[in-house]
């Protein structure tokens, strides 16, 4: 539930992706812990945490759609 610096060496030219939407992580990322399972998720923006919960809610109310 906080912003973190994405600490990369200058000669590291790889990239990292948002765990929720797939967008690029640049310079820093937002992390949160999944309530079920307790996994840590890295995402591109705070709004992706809300998106994560929203998608889960939709999934529960209309599974398989």
């Amino acid at each position: 539930m906080a912003w973190h610096e994405l600490d990369k060496s200058w000669h590291d030219t790889t990239v990292d992706y948002c765990d929720v939407c797939g967008n690029l992580l640049i310079a820093r990322y937002w992390s949160f812990v999944e309530p079920v399972g307790g996994e840590t998720r890295r995402c591109c923006d705070e709004s992706c945490e809300r998106l994560f919960h929203r998608l889960r809610r939709i999934e529960e109310s209309a599974p398989g759609s």
């Binding site: 990239v15 992706y17 797939g22 690029l24 640049i26 929203r54 998608l55 939709i58 209309a62 759609s65």
Partner: protein
């Protein structure tokens, strides 16, 4: 749909004026690029975009030229600026970048961005994106359809200084040019991009002088807010719900299997989510999409039916989320290849959104499938006329799908782009090919109440000693779909005839290829001929409901044969010549003894009844 939403306490006229002026700066930048280009892909094809961004690197306006670059326009510059850090820019710096994992669409598209300062303070950015015709990699034209990783697709450049405080960074230039097959051309086109930046820099400089840095950026913020509010009001007008659809890429050039794209659109109030998380894993070959390509396609599908006048800028994305998990075909993971994502995957998603999903809510604005491939045909070699190496990236027009109120248009560029063709006269002047034919491909359109548009046929002969050709296309195994009872359109064909021979065979048969539509580095020799046939659009609505007079007109023009008029449309035509062709031998009707062709009303009514009810 609702009109423009209210924005309180804002000088609406002043804001409109400012936005239009920034748009105009983008247009001027585009004009400079077109006029100074070396590659027909710029000057004729207009395969580029120009951008003005605020001091935080957010897109404020773009010249409305190529919608395919929307995603990259929205994110690439922003991401460069964030990765480098605005504080690390200096006046006179120009950054270049083509990294598809960092906001680029695919390697050939290069972005340049430069900061605009006033009195030592950062005020804004200007940028552009353009498709360079040749950037190295495993195949001339840099569209390696059989690439299995990004390293085969050309030279990848993360955000890199091309100019440092106004001075060219020569080492970078030399690395780039040493890796391109046609360095002179790259040099010229990169300078066209630079010139365009200079134009933008000056014009934005004028704006800053008038309004001050803070004043200008505050107005930019209002323009973003306005675009956001506009999008929200449009989304609000859609019924809440979850709408789904799917389509596929027919193969990836490496193995003979389709890759499925599964999409859900979730509308909730004034927000909308595109969810692609159930799509297939990323492909081995280069049909994968970087995140921005999936985003671009999703937004374009939406913008084709909603928010006609919205300022296209970073504000429109705020109420929208695109979920494309890394590692699926909708968001390629490094080092997956992706050159075809921009040209083949993007239109597929766009039409999936527009034609299959939004048609459930807005049938009157939707369309059946277009040919939906950029039909990339790449070639390079040494020009015998001047001894120089050349390379080109060619795309083809096609038929579009039928619409609610009219037929699909013929010979249009793939719908997610708005590029122009390269005219035959320019083509033959620049490269050693001779055209035998360039025409509409008759009798192929998907039938419907409103039929699809016709594709194009191009026949060209090699006029150099050797030309190395490659292709990256789609719609050779699966036809463009019809909508609401409309029939499928016709497929792409890529064929070759050896010098002196009359018989055409597919490239796949002639060269024993895995994929008919995706191949690299086929060597053709002087006198060999290539026949490119682009797909036609699908039909909209039941062909039996098509106005017989329009069927007759199509027969007279040669677009539809008499046979199809009867067997597909149930229209019986009497009189005129039997062929119904519009040829110049006088057989087109009206000249001969048989009289003008006309619809046999009674026979047509009976035939249509039988076709509908299945009873003779």
């Amino acid at each position: 749909m609702t009109g423009t939403p209210p924005l309180a306490d804002v000088d609406r006229v002043g804001l409109t004026l400012l936005y239009k002026r920034v748009r105009n700066i983008c247009d001027e930048m585009a004009f400079a690029m077109m006029r100074t280009a070396y590659s027909p892909i710029f000057s004729e094809g207009l395969d580029f975009s120009t951008l003005v961004l605020d001091r935080r690197g957010r897109l404020i306006a773009t010249a409305g030229i190529n919608p395919a670059m929307l995603g990259a326009s929205l994110y690439a510059a922003t991401w460069i600026i964030r990765e480098v850090g605005p504080e690390n820019f200096a006046e006179g710096d120009v950054f270049v970048h083509n990294d598809p994992y960092r906001g680029g669409s695919h390697l050939p598209e290069h972005m340049m961005v430069t900061p605009v300062y006033r009195d030592g303070e950062l005020a804004a950015f200007v940028g552009n994106i353009a498709h360079l015709a040749e950037i190295g990699g495993m195949a001339p034209g840099s569209f390696a359809a059989t690439a299995t990783d990004i390293f085969q697709e050309g030279l990848r450049i993360p955000p890199t200084k091309l100019f440092d405080r106004g001075e060219p960074v020569r080492d970078v230039w030399r690395i780039m040019l040493a890796n391109h097959r046609t360095p002179n051309n790259s040099w010229g086109d990169l300078h066209a991009m630079l010139g365009s930046l200079r134009v933008g820099e000056r014009r934005v400089g004028d704006l800053i002088a008038e309004r001050g840095i803070d004043g200008l950026n505050e107005s930019f913020e209002q323009i973003l807010d306005y675009a956001e509010a506009y999008m929200r009001s449009e989304i609000l007008s859609l019924p809440d719900g979850i709408y789904t659809g799917e389509d596929c890429m027919e193969d990836d050039g490496i193995s003979d299997r389709p890759y499925w794209i599964r999409s859900r659109i979730i509308v909730e109030g004034d927000e909308l989510i595109f969810d692609y998380s159930r799509s297939d894993e990323q492909a081995v070959g280069p049909i994968n999409a970087p995140y921005v390509v999936t985003l671009s396609a999703s937004l374009n599908g939406l913008l084709y039916v909603l928010a006609r006048d919205v300022p296209v800028n970073a504000g429109i994305v705020r109420p929208i989320k695109v979920v494309a998990p890394a590692g699926t075909i909708t968001c390629v993971r490094l080092p997956g290849p992706c050159v075809g994502g921009q040209t083949e995957f993007q239109p597929r998603i766009m039409e999936l959104v527009l034609g299959q999903i939004l048609s459930q809510i807005l049938p009157e604005r939707a369309a059946a499938a277009s040919g939906n491939t950029s039909l990339n045909f790449l070639f390079g070699g040494v020009d015998p006329r001047n001894g120089e190496y050349y390379a080109h990236y060619h795309f083809e027009g096609m038929g579009w799908g039928g619409r609610a109120t009219s037929d699909g248009n013929s010979a249009q560029i793939v719908p997610h782009a708005n590029c122009r063709n390269t005219p035959v006269e320019i083509f033959e002047t620049k490269w050693p090919w001779v055209h035998e034919e360039y025409c509409l491909n008759d009798n192929t359109a998907g039938a419907g109440r409103h039929r699809g548009g016709l594709g194009v046929r191009r026949v060209l002969e090699v006029a150099g000693d050797v030309i190395t050709v490659s292709a990256l296309s789609e719609r050779m195994k699966r036809s463009p779909w019809g909508l609401f009872g409309g029939r499928e359109g016709s497929r792409t064909r890529l064929e070759v005839a050896a010098a002196g021979g009359e018989e055409y065979e597919t490239f796949q048969d002639a060269f024993g290829l895995v994929s008919p539509s995706k191949f690299t580095n086929i060597r053709l020799r002087r006198g060999d001929r290539v026949r490119i046939t682009s797909p036609s659009g699908g039909g909209y609505g039941d062909p039996l409901e098509r106005d017989p007079a329009r069927v007759l007109n199509d027969v007279e023009l040669g677009f539809v044969s008499r046979g199809s008029a009867e067997s597909v449309y149930g229209v019986v035509i009497a009189g005129g010549s039997a062929t119904g062709d519009s040829g110049q031998d006088g057989s087109g009707g009206g000249d001969g003894a048989a009289g003008d062709p006309a619809v046999d009303e009674a026979a047509t009514a009976e035939l249509r009844r039988v076709m509908r009810d299945g009873v003779a």
